[in-house]
């Protein structure tokens, strides 16, 4: 009965993916300090991206179809990826502001964070290493 044994394991994996804890991180020496939920929302929704130094924060997105995208925006705004897409459709087609740059996966995201001290992005806590620093984490859920 090996197949039956695999099933609970698969379920467990699926569940852990859905509940993966997302954090927002920057390069360890970034000027970006701890952010609150409002500041983070302003940056990711393109409302206000100025940092204390006067520089512009550069948020990074993962693909709309990725589980991380869904988990991050659900945790931040209780919005689906489709709703986030509709939000950006409004802003992109009025030409007001550019959406966060999308990178292919969390490995590319880490590379980008390490390369750019003004970049910030969301990833699973388990993918952090000492070169990155957390600037926002979602509370107990």
């Amino acid at each position: 009965m090996p197949r039956l044994h695999a099933l609970p394991l698969l379920l467990l994996l699926a569940l852990s993916a859905a509940h993966a804890e997302m954090v927002v991180a920057v390069r360890a020496d970034s000027e970006i300090g701890p952010l609150n939920k409002t500041e983070l929302t302003h940056i990711f929704l393109g409302r206000y991206r100025q940092l204390a130094s006067g520089q512009q924060a550069e948020p990074l997105d993962l693909p709309v179809a990725s589980p991380e995208h869904a988990a991050f925006y659900e945790a931040l705004l209780n919005k689906t990826s489709a709703e986030i897409r509709a939000y950006w459709a409004r802003l992109v087609f009025t030409g007001r502001v550019a959406p966060p740059r999308t990178v292919d996966n969390s490995e590319r995201l880490q590379e980008q964070l390490l390369a750019n001290p003004r970049a910030l992005g969301y990833l699973e806590r388990t993918k952090l290493d000492r070169r990155l620093r957390v600037v926002f984490e979602f509370g107990e859920r």
Partner: protein
């Protein structure tokens, strides 16, 4: 006609899916569109999405009312500088889908809290009015016709300046714009030129948590008269002996007149719940248009991929009287002139309310299918929002629509 666009669209969708957005120096191609069928039940007046449309649905299903296609190219030259151009093909003036340039501007963002745009931009009279062609971005099939349909000015050639400043957990944003219109509007089978009309305005919005409140104000100075020269000329010929006729002609002039548009909008957007409420007031110094007030409320609640919504809107305008001074019953020509003027005054009357029920289904990524039913209850004199009314028009109709919105 929109169905012919489909193969092209799928190709573009594929190409766009590969593109990585907003890498400086990279050209991006994006698009949006709606393919739909709409039917208004009353045969005695044509329901249109907005006053750009010369013909509408009068008892038959039509694809023209709510179908459109837009394509945008944007080039982020550097973090501060971007070029954006957008073309739209929609059913409009000239009874055609002739493409029009909706945007072509350079955006300069010297600091993250402000940006300056110069070129052609969509007009921004009310909250959400600059995105009213992008069906995928909102819940309903079309923006409320009572509220947005009577506002047919699409784009301005000029500049706008936007600034943002945070106050604690609130964000205050302001925008100023000025420029000229450059388009034509259909009026019966004639053309009303808007080119050269000057526009200036601004808005202030406050965002706090799920709330956004925006105050908007625009003044529009018209350059050209309505295409009613034969009426104005006849009145001016009578003016030497009949000063009231000359005065009437002057008051019907739109060239040189000012219209003011004010509005207050509030949006509550929290997780699956969306609420919108807006109020507007338009006043016109010319007697050819009636001052109006309009409002709408809209509520939607998402469950999974489905978002049912319900809305209510109304528009009321104040009738104007003009004493032409021309005595009745002297000659058939003069009676016709009086009747023509009464007709012009009556044509800009709006008095109706609309109840809207609908459902948005996000059936696949980048696609949303919407069905909507509008119940319009108005007075027989509510003519302004419609086209091609006849004597039997009673101001009441039901509009059914099914639309597929997409972006890529």
């Amino acid at each position: 006609m929109p169905t012919r666009l489909f193969p092209l669209l799928l190709l573009l969708l594929n190409a766009a899916a590969q593109a990585d957005p907003a890498i400086p120096g990279e050209l991006q191609l994006n698009g949006f569109g709606s393919i739909g069928m709409t039917r208004s039940s009353n045969r005695n007046a044509a329901f249109v999405r907005d006053l750009n449309q010369p013909k509408g649905t009068q008892g038959q299903w039509r694809s023209e009312t709510d179908s459109l296609f837009g394509l945008q190219a944007s080039w982020q030259i550097s973090q501060q500088l971007a070029l954006v151009a957008q073309g739209i093909s929609r059913y409009h003036f000239g009874n055609s889908y002739a493409p029009e340039l909706m945007s072509a501007f350079v955006r300069y963002e010297p600091r993250p809290f402000g940006s300056l745009r110069v070129g052609r931009m969509p007009t921004d009279f009310y909250l959400y009015s600059d995105s009213r062609h992008v069906g995928y971005s909102y819940l309903t099939v079309r923006p409320s016709t009572d509220f947005f349909g009577v506002l047919p000015f699409s784009h301005l050639d000029g500049a706008d300046l936007q600034l943002a400043h945070p106050f604690g957990n609130s964000l205050l944003r302001g925008k100023l714009y000025w420029g000229k219109l450059d388009e034509d509007l259909p009026l019966a089978d004639r053309r009303w030129q808007l080119a050269g009309s000057r526009l200036a305005g601004g808005n202030l919005s406050l965002q706090h948590g799920p709330w956004t409140v925006r105050l908007s104000s625009t003044i529009l100075h018209f350059q050209h008269n309505l295409p009613i020269a034969e009426v104005s000329d006849a009145l001016r010929q009578l003016a030497p002996g009949l000063p009231a006729a000359g005065e009437t002609a002057r008051r019907l002039d739109v060239a040189g007149s000012n219209s003011r548009f004010h509005s207050l909008g509030a949006v509550y957007d929290e997780g699956p719940l969306q609420l919108q409420a807006m109020l507007s007031h338009a006043s016109h110094s010319t007697a050819a248009f009636q001052d109006w007030r309009a409002a709408y409320i809209l509520a939607g609640y998402r469950r999974g991929n489905l978002t049912p919504f319900v809305g209510y809107s109304w528009i009321r305008s104040r009738s104007r009287e003009l004493d032409t001074g021309i005595p009745r019953g002297i000659s058939p020509d003069l009676d016709r002139l009086n009747a023509g003027i009464a007709g012009i005054l009556a044509d800009s009357h709006s008095e109706q309310q609309t109840t809207t029920l609908g459902l948005r289904w996000d059936l696949a990524s980048q696609f949303a299918l919407k069905i909507q039913h509008d119940i319009i209850r108005g007075q027989p004199g509510s003519l302004f929002p419609y086209r091609n009314e006849n004597q039997a028009w009673n101001g009441r109709t039901r509009v059914s629509s099914i639309v597929l919105d997409f972006i890529f």
